[in-house]
Each structure stands twice: as structure tokens, then as C-alpha cells.
């Protein structure tokens, strides 16, 4: 009883010890904030990585892909059984994207993916990241009249018609100049005035000129028809920068309604080398997952068109090859188990396939985030350990100060164990108080983290959280109760451990010497 009462009284009267616990408080608060932010960041990243990747990806190593996808799908269905929620076939191939921009050709290296409009939405969250709301509802590769993102007010058919009209007017003017030159009418050239330029004096698009001169208008009217649709990653089609006011802006190099060129390798029969195949596509939407790796490399086209263009259709049987099958499993399924079953069904020594879960594919990135969290936790716990030494020093001082009282307690029959437990209880109480306050501070910080970031930006003038780097509008946080519990438990343990040595010293004090202490 005396242990509890004395510990409580010491807690209320020894403010120096409370000062020593402040570092524990700050350590706990920081640990909670860091873990919550890292968990939020990690969760957001998982969500986005998983959003575009299906649960399991079944890839062929060869350029020509899997020869008979329907047979493969049937086999996969047999292995996976009830757990299979969705499956789709894709063709993935490296490609070069090129499009004209103010008289210059812009090229981008892209990962061209042919997707099946009917089934691709079943295996991932792909369509959620499209800019046009109708495409988010149901994926099509048709150009829409307008209504894209607010960043793209003039897009779709509106943009396309305006551009074609300008190009045609330009061509008309050019033809007039050429005909005037042929008749050698000297004053005709003086009357020349170019049409109103909707692009604000942008130089003539050389690609448009070539294309229109090659294409008879009765066959393909660009103003009314589109090429095969392509959905480009946001960062493929735009450049993100800050304007003079410090606002983040996207500058679009091409937008829905524009035409682009894609060059990719064909799938030749054995014995022949792959050749480069070029085709023209119309940008019908943009894809923004906010994962820069995806947004800066992906371009999606309809599967059937890509198969046709690459020569992946068997002329004899009409069977279409694919390079990958994407599998979505029922929630809660053990991905690794299914992967291993599929590998067992398609052993690597017989089939040249790579079967991976989405975690396998993004393993290094996920491991890096995990490693970062672990190292931060170790470093911050070291801070609390340093605080532990502060507690140790303070407790030694208190033991020295209380030497005579310890002698009295022993003279009155207090066992050494009881004297020891006074200081252990005291350490535990201080640790609990410090960690408790730290926990509350940390949770409050996490709750108001965006407001605090804004406040810090205002005070320091430095951007704390740069959306151009992270692609998050707000700092993502997730408070995991178990982590909070572990942090608090760890800190209390450190406080108790730090009080063990002073407590042992108190317990070993000789009562006679302690009573004589001046």
C-alpha cells in the first residue's frame, strides 16, 4: 500500500521527473504521427498499385503471347474454381508514342496495353481513374462530345472539329497561294490573309497536312470520324508545373480529340524478325491513377485492334493470341496459394509463363516503404531510449534525495522488494503519464495534420507536402490501434526499465547507513 501511495505522492511533488518524461511524450507523439502517415501512405499506394494491377497476372515471355487464350482461361478456371471473380486477356507491348505539337514531334516511350472493353473493368479499378464520367461508368474507346475533367474544358469532338476546321482552312489558304503562284498574279498574294487561328498563332501542324493530303475526305472525314481510340496516361499527355502564384497546373500536350501515332513491334511468325508497325489513334480519354509510374507510361487501346495491327490473329484458325491474362479473385483469397497452384499447373520448365501476384510485381516498392517505416520506428524508439537515460539520471537523484526516507521505511519493516517496487511503480506511472499525453498529442496531430501542414507552410513559407511530388491532395493517414498500443507499451517499458537501476540501488541501501544520511 505504501508503495502506491508514495509513488503517487512522488508523482505529484517531483516535477523534475515530469520534465524528464517530456521527451517520452514527444517520442510517442512522433511515433504515432509517423506510423499513421506511413500507414496512410502505404495503404494509398497499395490501393493504387492494386487498382491497376489485377490480383494475379499471367504473362507470356514471348512477343507473340499465349497462342490459345480460351484454353488457358478454361484451365485457369479449373484451378482457381469458385475463387475466380473476373478474368480478362490483354496484350502488352512496348511502344513509341508520337504526336505533333506546334510544329515539333513529341515522342514518348509508353507501355501499350490492349484491353478488352467488356471484361477489363472486372479485374481492376482501371475505369475509376478515367477522366470522362461516362467512361468511368462503362469503358468505351469512343470520343465523347465534351464533359471531360474541368482541367480539359475544350476536349472531345468540340476540340477535334475546331482543329480540323483550322487545318482545313489552312490547307485551303495554302492551295490558294499555290494556285495564285501558278497564274503569276502579282497582287493576289497581297490579298492573302490567314484564317483566324484558334491556337493563338500556333505553327501549322505538319502531321495534319500530310494526313489530310493523303486521305480522301469521302472515305474518312476527320471532323466526323475518329481513328481507333487510345487512352493515354495523364503524365504522357501533360506536364505538371507550378504557375506564378504557386498553384499546381497541368499543361496538356495533347488532349481528347487529338490524333497520335503509335509505333510498336509486330508479332511475326517464327523465323521472321519483328517489324515496326505504326498506326494512328485518336485520344479519347486520359487516365490518372496518381501513381506517377503508371500515369507516365501507360497507353490503352482496344484489344482486338492491337491484335489485328500486330498480326496476332492466326490466319488459318482465326484464334487471337494475347500476351497476358489478368485474374481477379474473390476478396480474402490467398493470392500466394492461387499463384502456386497456377505455377504447379503451368510448370515453368514446360510453359514459358510468368505468374505473379500484384504484390510480387510491386515487391521492391512495397518493401522499400516497409523498410522506411521500420527504420523510422527504430530511430524514433532510440529517441525514447535516450529519454530513458534521462529518467534514469533523474531517478538516481530522487533515490539520493530520498535516502533517509528509504532508511526509515526499512527500519519500519519495509522489505527491499517493496522499496524497489516504489521506484518501479513510480517509473511505470511516469511512463504511463508521459505516453498517455504523447498518445493524445499524436492522435490530435494526426487528426489535424493537413491544417498543421498548411499552418507550417504559412509560417515557414516552405511547402511541407508537395502535391506535384506525391499526387495526393491531402496527407493520407491511418491510425492503427494496435500500432498505437505497441508504441505506448514500448515507451512505458522503457520508462520502467530506466527505473530498474535506481530502484535496485534504493533496495540495496543499508538501513543504518540510510538513516545516518545527511
Amino acid at each position: 500500500m505504501f508503495k502506491l501511495l508514495l509513488s503517487w505522492r512522488y508523482l505529484r511533488t517531483r516535477y523534475i521527473a515530469l520534465a524528464s518524461i517530456i521527451s517520452v511524450t514527444l517520442g510517442v507523439a512522433t511515433l504515432i504521427v509517423v506510423n499513421s502517415v506511413m500507414a496512410g501512405f502505404s495503404e494509398e499506394m497499395h490501393r493504387r498499385l492494386h487498382g491497376i494491377l489485377s490480383d494475379i497476372v499471367f504473362e507470356s515471355h514471348s512477343l507473340g503471347g499465349l497462342p490459345d487464350p480460351d484454353w488457358h482461361i478454361a484451365e485457369i478456371r479449373k484451378v482457381v474454381g469458385e475463387r475466380l471473380v473476373g478474368i480478362t486477356s490483354t496484350v502488352q507491348v512496348p511502344a513509341m508514342l508520337s504526336f505533333p505539337m506546334r510544329g515539333q514531334w513529341i515522342t514518348r516511350q509508353v507501355n501499350l496495353i490492349g484491353v478488352d472493353e467488356e471484361t477489363y473493368a472486372d479485374v481492376g479499378d482501371f475505369s475509376q481513374y478515367l477522366l470522362h464520367p461516362e467512361n468511368r461508368e462503362r469503358l468505351t474507346f469512343d470520343l465523347h462530345e465534351g464533359g471531360y475533367d474541368e482541367r480539359l474544358p475544350e476536349s472531345g469532338w468540340v476540340q477535334r472539329r475546331r482543329r480540323i476546321a483550322y487545318e482545313r482552312a489552312y490547307d485551303e489558304q495554302l492551295r490558294q497561294i499555290e494556285s495564285l503562284g501558278r497564274t503569276e498574279t502579282a497582287d493576289a498574294s497581297a490579298d492573302f490573309s490567314p484564317p483566324a487561328d484558334p491556337f493563338g498563332g500556333v505553327p501549322r501542324d505538319p502531321y495534319g497536312a500530310t494526313a489530310s493530303s493523303e486521305r480522301p475526305s469521302q472515305v474518312f472525314d476527320e471532323a466526323k470520324q475518329q481513328h481507333t481510340g487510345v487512352i493515354l496516361g495523364m503524365m504522357v499527355a501533360s506536364v505538371r508545373h507550378r504557375d506564378q502564384d504557386g498553384e499546381v497546373r497541368d499543361h496538356f500536350l495533347c488532349r481528347p480529340g487529338d490524333d497520335v501515332n503509335l509505333t510498336f513491334p509486330t508479332s511475326p511468325p517464327p523465323g521472321q524478325a519483328p517489324a515496326a508497325q505504326s498506326a494512328r489513334f485518336t485520344v479519347v480519354d486520359l487516365y490518372e491513377s496518381k501513381m506517377s509510374e503508371y500515369d507516365s507510361t501507360f497507353a490503352f487501346v482496344p484489344l482486338k485492334d492491337l491484335q489485328r495491327l500486330r498480326g496476332m490473329i492466326d490466319p488459318a484458325t482465326g484464334v487471337r493470341s494475347v500476351t497476358a491474362l489478368q485474374i481477379r479473385l474473390a476478396p480474402g483469397s490467398n493470392l500466394n496459394e492461387v499463384r502456386d497452384q497456377l505455377i504447379a499447373r503451368f510448370p515453368p520448365d514446360q510453359y514459358h509463363y510468368r505468374i505473379q501476384t500484384w504484390r510480387d510485381m510491386q515487391g521492391p516498392l512495397l518493401a522499400a516503404v516497409q523498410m522506411e517505416t521500420t527504420i523510422l520506428n527504430i530511430l524514433l524508439f532510440l529517441i525514447i531510449a535516450v529519454a530513458g537515460f534521462g529518467i534514469l539520471a533523474t531517478f538516481f537523484m530522487i533515490v539520493v534525495e530520498k535516502t533517509r526516507d528509504i532508511g526509515v521505511l526499512k527500519a519500519l519493516g519495509a522489505p527491499s522488494r517493496g522499496v524497489m517496487s516504489i521506484f518501479l511503480t513510480y517509473g511505470c506511472a511516469l511512463g504511463t503519464a508521459g505516453s498517455g499525453v504523447g498518445m493524445v498529442l499524436g492522435l490530435l496531430f494526426v487528426y489535424y495534420i493537413n491544417e498543421i501542414a498548411t499552418g507550417l507552410e504559412w509560417v515557414t513559407g516552405q511547402e511541407v507536402f508537395d502535391p506535384t511530388v506525391y499526387y495526393f491532395q491531402e496527407i493520407p493517414t491511418i491510425v492503427e490501434p494496435f500500432t498505437v498500443f505497441l508504441v505506448v507499451l514500448g515507451s512505458v517499458s522503457i520508462a520502467v526499465l530506466a527505473s530498474v537501476l535506481p530502484a535496485l540501488r534504493a533496495a540495496r541501501l543499508h538501513p543504518v547507513e540510510a538513516l545516518r544520511w545527511e
Binding site: D405, L412, V512
Partner: protein, 273 residues
């Protein structure tokens, strides 16, 4: 085991009803002038035989007690006197099991106690011996009432203490009333005078109804008048409650109030009067 004798939970109080009677004050002079109780021959309550104790200081061995024989009977009030450094405080510490002798033996109620394990000695000090000190040694964080209750808090588990807290509180209140401190229950030691603190310490020593009170210079830090009051209180306790008291003092006037005086000179008993 020898110490098992002292491992009892409770010791029957010497005179629990007598303790509750307020005698300090109006009735004190009468009690203090009462004749000494008849000391019938009886076995010693506490005895020491050939006690030797020395301290080491570096390579030097300083002998403090050099074969002390000592005995006190139930109900006796013995004063141990001697000059500074004569070993009287050391003797008291050995008798109170706060320290162990180098050789010799100490017996309490016929049982040897100097070689008991720590736990048994803790129980002995907590329930059978009361101790008061020259500098009172009250715990500054506790008020007067709590200081008196400390031996009970030490001796019992939290649960048991909690169950008996009312009885303990009542007993402590009675003891404080007996020593004349009923108006200072909630005061911290720093708010008390020297005499009040010593009286609180006496109440603390009596809370477990001990058989023996060990007093180390109880008046050494008090003025003559206050010292005399404390001595009157001790004398009353000795006479009315038959409490055995061993008091160490360097003041022969104070020692004169005891039944018997043992003089220590250079670690040996020189004279018993």
C-alpha cells in the same frame, strides 16, 4: 524455522482499551508520579550476549562493540548512556535488527533473532518492535495520520489494508489523540514543531502495538521543556501499558527517568544502575 515464531499476522495488543483513553494532558502528572511497577523476576524479553561489532574504514578496523552483554525484561524502561562514539546507537541498531553483529547473539522472547533471514527481520521490526529517532524521520510526503499508518501499510497487502482501512484509521486517530495531536491529523511534517513531530513518531511506533520500543536519542533534538514532555509520555506508556522501552541517550538527566541505566564505555558495558 526459528523466525516462524514472528511470522504471525497479528500480535495481541498490550492494552488496546487503555490506549484509547486520553491521558496526556490533564491526567498526565498523576500518572507520571505513580510508583514504579513491581519488577518480578522473569525471563528477559530481549537479551544480547557478547555482542561484537566493528566497522571497516579502508584497511583499518574500528571496533565499536567489544563483547556487550545486555538484557531487558518485559515492562522495563532501560536507558543506554555513553559518550559519543561509545557504541550505544550501534547497540540499538543491533537490538532492533537493523544491522547484524559480527559475533554474539541476540534473543527475543528466548528465540535468537540476529541470524534470521531478512524477511523475518522485516516482520519483526514491523510488528513487534517500535522505533523512534532523534530526527523523528517522518515521511515528508505524508500527513500526520498517514505517517502513523505507514507501518500498517508496509505490513499488509493493498487489499487487506483497504478492507481494514477504517479500523486502522480509527486506531491511528486514537493514538494521535493520546499523544495530543488530534488537531494535526492532516498536517504535513513540515508544518509541525519538533515536539509534535516526535509525538507523531511515537504514535507511528505504537500503531502495530509492539512489545518493545527502541528510542534513539528521542529528546536529542528538542529543547529541555519539550524533551521533558516526551519523556513523560514515554514514562506513561511504560507504566500504564507495560511497554518495554530501550532508550539511547547521552543526557544523564534524561536517563535518570528510566528504571535502569546501562553505561557503555568504548564498546563495553561499564556499569548498570
Amino acid at each position: 524455522m526459528t523466525h516462524a515464531v514472528y511470522d504471525r499476522t497479528e500480535l495481541s495488543p498490550v492494552d488496546p482499551d487503555g490506549l484509547s483513553e486520553p491521558f496526556y494532558g490533564g491526567s498526565a502528572p498523576q500518572s507520571l508520579t505513580a510508583p514504579a511497577p513491581h519488577m518480578a523476576p522473569q525471563p528477559a524479553l530481549l537479551s544480547a550476549r557478547r555482542l561484537m561489532k566493528s566497522y571497516r574504514k579502508g584497511k583499518h578496523v574500528i571496533p565499536v562493540l567489544r563483547g556487550v552483554d545486555f538484557a531487558v525484561r518485559q515492562g522495563e524502561f532501560v536507558a543506554v548512556v555513553g559518550q559519543s562514539g561509545s557504541g550505544k546507537s550501534t547497540l540499538l541498531h543491533l537490538l532492533g535488527t537493523l544491522d547484524a553483529p559480527d559475533s554474539g547473539e541476540i534473543c527475543f522472547e528466548g528465540n535468537r533473532i540476529d541470524n534470521l533471514p531478512y524477511q523475518a527481520r522485516d516482520v519483526l521490526r514491523n510488528r513487534y518492535f517500535g522505533m523512534i529517532f532523534q530526527f523523528y524521520h517522518l515521511l515528508p510526503e505524508f500527513n500526520t495520520l498517514e505517517n502513523v499508518l505507514v507501518p500498517r501499510m508496509i505490513g499488509q497487502s493493498v487489499w487487506r489494508y483497504w478492507l481494514q482501512r477504517r479500523a486502522h484509521g480509527q486506531r491511528a486517530g486514537e493514538l494521535l489523540e493520546m499523544v495530543g495531536l488530534s488537531h494535526r491529523l492532516k498536517h504535513k511534517p513540515r508544518e509541525l514543531s519538533g515536539g509534535e513531530m516526535q509525538r507523531a513518531a511515537i504514535a507511528r511506533a505504537l500503531i502495530a502495538s509492539p512489545q518493545l520500543l527502541l528510542a534513539d536519542e528521542p529528546t536529542g533534538n528538542l529543547d529541555r521543556h519539550t524533551g521533558a514532555e516526551i519523556m513523560r509520555l514515554l514514562r506513561t506508556l511504560n507504566r500504564e501499558q507495560n511497554l518495554t522501552i530501550i532508550m539511547v541517550t547521552h543526557d544523564s538527566t534524561i536517563a535518570g527517568r528510566a528504571d535502569r541505566t546501562v553505561r557503555l564505555v568504548e564498546g563495553l558495558v561499564e556499569r548498570v544502575t
